[in-house]
Symmetry: D2
Subunit: 290 residues, 4 copies
């Protein structure tokens, strides 16, 4: 049934998505995207952006329009946040990904961001997929919390059938009976997707686990399973975060994650350029000499 | 946490939603909504509308904009379908409910329909909820396939916090491990919701079971559990339906359902005015005299 | 795949299981089994047995060996409870069903009970199924909390392939993401099983909902969907129960349930002999005259 | 609630289970257990045992008593298989783990094996847990397919409260809505369990993924997430296997897995003594000198 999908064609070849400024998702280099759940103001955004860049992130995430279960929760700073993201990009050189929630905002968000995020709750918002599919912007398509792998590929097809082939898939945990974690990271989806599609696949360990202490082990697991990158929530002061504080890493926590991630990335044949420790490539013949 | 929600306030009192032309959802009379999955043309729509009215339905359903897993499936006739629904209403007197998928279509759909449907896939499309919440149109809010009861009430709150209090909740099956049915009807959600909220609760047995043979037993179960109504897919020729044929009742099948539904409705104290069979009311002392 | 199973053969014919003393499960008369979760002592057991019999139950349930998540919870009175069940049967005439947990106890439990229960946690305890299959005792086989319909039928086949054809299936709720109820009653399993097998199907609304307030609506839904009976937990003082108090009905609560159940049973063509209210049969031609 | 469990006490300290012949699970050295799903005969068992030992496995798995969904599937060679496992141990020096299904077989299996396996379907077979808890044999306790982390710890407590403290926990995939894999590996359970208990945690990537192609990525993910070991199904000729052939690795496939596993193990600070490739330790400052 899935054989004729654009996401399937030539699954043996790998597609690399060229986001901006040299950031290429799906290449041998592991892609790390980091930043706050929500953009809360200029200072926290800049501080986070600089810190995550220093630790090795190559893209900045940050929510401007926030989908929230309750209408009384913080809904994001909207356009103001978009402008702050532009400033942070100018200051750090990090391309920016942010979520778009409404067909009427696609043009606005596209004018500010380098990559549009379709959130899990909107994975089957087909009007939004169609509108984003009509741009040529790189898209980060998150798997719905109860979407099957097949439905994720069909959602990608909604984008690709409109002409937008720049799709990156993101596993972020599925809903199961288990309540020990916010969601259940379906780490198997990584190799399944890598076999079923030529598109890059990244993982969001923050939403999957829902707790800061789980981010590192899940990120390592995702990379070991073959993910092309990770997207991580980081906040200068998680306890004071306006949203998702429980699952946000501190700046130090993110640096520690990056330190632990590099050897795992290399162990599965990935480049981890943020780390200068010399380690023999996982599949090379030569022992390390440093 | 949920205590301050508008959907919760005075849960002991029941809210009745006045749709149009005397159709009141949440009252003692059981509400039956029926019609085709998609509006496919004038003839099939009129034929279906007349038949379901004859059998006792008081509202007509029919998809104009269809959310479809695959972009290559039939996406609905759009505006043309809306106009056909208006014609069918004029011909039969049945108020019309149809789904709206896109914030930009809310005004258009509201101009044609009597009730707006938020589909399961869009239950957490908060931009759409906000836009629909800004109308005062009756809304049929379907539970997302992996939404908890709590999340459904919060979705209602997104509508109600904008001022639209005319919300009817709809259980339509949740996603579980079981593959013998399309979804798993969470019939418990009916009494749970009736205890948690003052809003009317109806059930969609067609999407829950996914097969015509399951529609009647699930509809009966829903009503026995306390549902205020059901919404059922009916098609003059299910085998030729452009969508959801497998779960659509034939016109005869719908009539048979209505015949079986009446005594169950009465057994739990509901009026079933389409049925003239005289049966003693379930909780009354007096035999019926009609 | 399932076509050759004994549980499938001649699914069009219905099998009636003759338990004892005229109790026949699967016949036109709805079967109501009731009693305490655990046998806690002679007095509470007798009091419950007499009350449920008075309200219309035709069999007594009561746990002697209890499967408990924690090893520090009450594990049942064991042999002593079996003897108390025998006394209660003698006093009331109600045949007894109780759970067997261990292959080494099958003979013992079979010597005291009229029907052996295989609990949800043991649905795929194949050693136990084999041992119970070697008796000819009626068996109440509960669906595992994450067992598919197909796996339930295969579990029945483990019993039937040993020669024990006296199998009654029991839907008791499955595990899903929803936490508003203890389990999610899969009411669709009733019509699905009725179509797939000739065996009787009953429903346990107590374990499904996990709360006393949900027992009646779920019992009514089960019967409306076609169940051949229900099995309900009842306790003279639920707040003081040693297990499952939260989901146990009081004696009055059970009587109320039976009063509400009768018209629903009749509405779907079942006999409800405990109720003397005269109501025309659901499929008869005659209006009621009372 | 869980705070007083023996599995919880001193969760900060790590328990190492001493199985036999120097095999210690939970130590710095990663433990790899491998072997056929079922013991099918002497030759295939010896061939597999020698091959997996050569590739670095330190324990042999092999089913003697098999829990099978259908009573018509191969149920294991029973006692004959136990004797073959003893022979294979003598020939290779590999300690043996095999499943016990029936309380009446505990003594028999314990007399032949070095470690008793409680399978996923029996995780809440409390009679079996009690009987195995009365031995002092090392136990491999598999998580039930819909058991929560909390229930798994309580199952361990059933063993430990009887005095058997030699418990190793095993995550092997849970049942979810996703059908692309046999089960969904809950890789998050590894760090969650490591935080909640002092017991060793291993992962079964074979049953989790259900396909040979997924075994390696899932094994790598498990180890990256912190698992103390893996248990893998291997068969000389998977296509001809009497059970679980689809998910069994060939002998070459297992060797390849071990080659890929070593650098990941080292990247997270584990010893992988089967691999002689010199790689700097993941967290050390010193380059390797070998």
């Amino acid at each position: 049934m899935l054989t004729n999908l654009r996401a399937r064609a030539a699954a043996s070849a790998r597609t690399v998505i060229d986001v901006a400024d040299g950031v290429r998702i799906g290449d041998v280099e592991l892609t790390v995207i980091a930043g706050p759940c929500s953009v809360e103001g200029p200072q926290m955004l800049l501080e986070t952006a600089r810190a995550v860049k220093g630790a090795g992130a190559v893209m900045l995430r940050g929510g401007a329009f926030k989908p929230r279960t309750s209408p009384y929760s913080f809904q994001g700073l909207g356009t103001e946040a978009l402008e702050l993201l532009v400033i942070a990009r100018a200051a750090t050189g990090l391309p920016v990904v942010t979520e778009v929630l409404d067909t009427r905002h696609v043009e606005l968000v596209a004018a500010h961001a380098d990559m549009l995020q379709i959130g899990a709750r909107n994975m089957q918002n087909f009007a939004l997929l169609a509108e984003v599919g009509c741009t040529r912007m790189p898209v980060l398509l998150k798997r719905g919390q109860s979407a099957s792998v097949s439905e994720l590929l069909f959602a990608a097809e909604h984008l690709m059938s409109r002409g937008n082939l720049n799709v990156v898939l993101c596993e972020r945990g599925i809903r199961t009976f288990e309540t020990a974690t916010r969601n259940t990271l379906d780490v198997s989806a990584v190799p399944v997707l890598k076999a079923e599609t030529h598109l890059p696949v990244i993982v969001d360990p923050s939403h999957a686990g829902g707790r800061a202490a789980l981010v590192a082990p899940l990120a390592l697991a995702a990379v070991a399973a073959g993910a092309d990158g990770i997207i991580v929530e980081v906040h200068p002061d998680p306890a004071a975060a306006w949203s998702d504080g429980e699952q946000s890493l501190t700046l130090d926590g993110f640096e520690d994650l990056m330190r632990r991630l590099a050897p795992v990335a290399r162990a599965v044949g990935r480049d981890a350029p943020w780390s200068t420790r010399s380690v023999a490539p996982a599949r090379g013949a030569m022992p390390c000499s440093a």
